[in-house]
């Protein structure tokens, strides 16, 4: 079952097309990466899900039904441009945002107590936002996003400005929320930052979707039968005498002094053959299949079109 289904969504801003016939499906309980360069249309799409804007045409389904105003209570959204009222106190502000999402004051307080405990920030309730460091404010923002236990969480460029400790903390919490049943949409132009955490992705470029599916399948599809092999540096001549069905992509010496080469098998022969070739002639230190990164796949797709 898909929590979000976009059907032929078109959105234009005074002549500029932000989304061109976008169709995609976000499966329930997935961590879904909405990937693409800046200006591709990601934020436009997210704003449509949050009903901040409406599409010019097309439909957006939430749990299979056209999305309604009351559904905002079931969505948690951390926008790219995010902040808090600087003069307000942490507790008051969190309560206010939670009540706007439809929680009662007492419910919100109970849940806030849980999260403040979890993030070890109980002393912050009466602090003003302007007294907090950036990292501290990010924690508060995260809490206010997830507090009302939304079924769908949307993070737009979640890790820009996050320090590594907060990034890991948030990634851990997000996985936990997914395990508890939430669906998460990540939108980012830094594709490497979400590769390890997403299980589904959609690539968007210049208002068009160019690819969508489970990350594993996509990567398998884009395999090129290329392998990376690391061996003794002085045996560089081995690369010159490669069998005819091996194609050398590139090679270099790394910092530790090893030589690493990337080799593509042009027919459907087994990687064992490459390994055998090298093992017989030198000492192999490392051998693996080169699986394309999302970034590589993206570049390849963009060039293809």
């Amino acid at each position: 079952m898909d929590i979000i289904s976009a059907e032929h969504i078109v959105k234009t801003y005074s002549g500029h097309v932000a989304l061109n016939d976008l169709t995609l499906n976000v499966p329930e309980r997935s961590i879904y990466g909405l990937l693409g360069p800046n200006g591709a249309g990601k934020t436009s799409f997210i704003r449509i899900i949050n009903q901040i804007t409406a599409p010019d045409s097309g439909k957006l389904l939430f749990h299979g039904k056209p999305i309604q105003a009351s559904d905002v209570a079931r969505i948690g959204y951390l926008p790219e441009e995010r902040g808090l009222y600087k003069k307000m106190r942490v507790g008051e502000q969190a309560l206010y945002l939670a009540q706007l999402k439809g929680l009662s004051s007492s419910e919100a307080k109970k849940k806030l107590a849980y999260w403040f405990e979890k993030f070890d920030i109980h002393g912050w309730w009466d602090k003003r936002i302007e007294e907090l460091s950036k990292g501290m404010a990010q924690k508060v923002q995260f809490i206010t996003t997830v507090l009302h236990e939304p079924e769908l969480l949307i993070f737009d460029e979640p890790f820009t400005g996050f320090d590594p400790i907060n990034t890991n903390l948030i990634k851990k919490e997000i996985r936990e929320l997914r395990d508890k049943g939430a669906t998460v949409i990540f939108s980012t132009h830094r594709m490497e930052s979400v590769e390890e955490i997403c299980d589904h992705i959609a690539l968007i470029n210049k208002s068009n979707k160019i690819l969508e599916g489970p990350l594993k399948d996509i990567r398998m599809k884009y395999r090129t039968n290329t392998y990376s092999i690391t061996f003794e540096p002085r045996e560089a001549d081995l690369l010159k005498a490669l069998p005819h069905n091996y194609h050398l992509v590139d090679h270099h010496r790394d910092n530790e002094g090893w030589r690493t080469a990337r080799i593509t098998l042009e027919d459907q022969s087994s990687p064992n053959e490459i390994l055998e070739y090298f093992i017989q002639r030198t000492t192999v230190h490392h051998f693996e299949e080169v699986i394309p990164s999302v970034n590589d796949i993206f570049i390849r797709e963009v060039q293809k079109n």
């Binding site: 901040i52 009351s70 969505i75 009222y85 706007l100 439809g102 923002q141």
Partner: protein, 441 residues
Amino acid sequence: MTKNKIKLVIKREFLTRVRKKSFLIMTIVGPVLIGLLMVAPALLASLPDGPKSIWVIDQPGILIPERGSGQYQLDYLPPREFDLEKAKDFLQHSDHDALVFIPTGEGWDPDFFKRNIILFGKKDVPLSMERYLEELLERKINDQKLLRQGVDPEIVAQTKTNLTLKVFNLDEDGKERESATIIKMVTGYAAGFLIYFFIFLYSSQVMRGVIEEKTSRIVEVIISSVRPFQLMMGKIVGIGSVGLLQFLIWVVLSFGIFQVVSLTILADKFDTEKIIEAQKAMGPEAGDVSALMQFQQSLEAVNFPLIVLVFLYFFIGGYILYGSLFAAIGAAVDNETDSQQFLLPVIIPLIIGILVSTRVVESPDGPLAFWFSMIPFTSPIVMMVRIPFGVPYWQLALSISLLIGTFMLTTWMAARIYRVGILMYGKKINYKEIWKWMRYH
């Protein structure tokens, strides 16, 4: 659900402002300060500012033997021994504060004196001293002119008549009511200025609030749970409620202060026996007491509850009108500095309202007063100026209806600008751009 959300926004906007120390200070200190500001110049002027002594070189002998009065003392330098230069030098080294030089000129002509009398001050000459001397010299020169025509100045002084008209208005019942034009003018102008102040103050707070939400980047978080229109209206209503609360506290405080003052200080003076006593004892100064009574009566001629009621209507109307425009401006810009270019055209009508008011108090039923109290952008101010003089009900009703219609229109326009503007960052906005936003569906 949606209704509750707008309530939440209103509550936040209201509470965050009312809880500020500055609100408390403004609310309590405000009326006291305004009172002081009105009383201070009078108080200061009535304070004697130490005796002043003035040297006089009286060549024609028109001032001698006048010794001065009040705080001014006149001392004469013999005109034969002192020319102007010497006298100036003498002033420099004496304790006196100023020097008056009256030259004779050719042929002993009073008009020549008039043109050529000079006053030198050791430092800046106070305005009060200048006035005192002008008045004194005018009188003396006048006397000289009368003498030349063979008229005795004493007789002229005796025949002089001072008249203050007692003015009454006939009200609708044909009953005569003492007119209190001055009080009405002051009340009208004060009410007009107060509404200008309130509208301006609280509308700018709306703008600042919108800019704050934009620059702190919280606005997108909020509008993922609340419609932009609700956020804007919640803000306008919340901040407006702060203004209403403040105004009502001011009314209650002023009324309280007035009661206390009239009970403690004035009550004493209104005791009739004491007035009679005072009239016997003080003679001419008893006039002050009857002036106070007159003041009290004049205040009664002004319908204060009606003024407060009309103020509330026009504050709400004018504030929503301007508040929505200010909200739109706040949404269109990234910071307060950028807001200047858009603020000007919005502020100009307010300022015109204040400028026109100076004429409206002179003629509160004239065409100028009528039209500017109908145009919704100036009507809150101008109508407040007119109201103490009495305004026909149909005019009030028409003006209020026009105001309501216009603020509905500006709010609708503002909402369209607002919902696009709050999500725009780092873009230089011009009128063309705003026009484009308004036409987005």
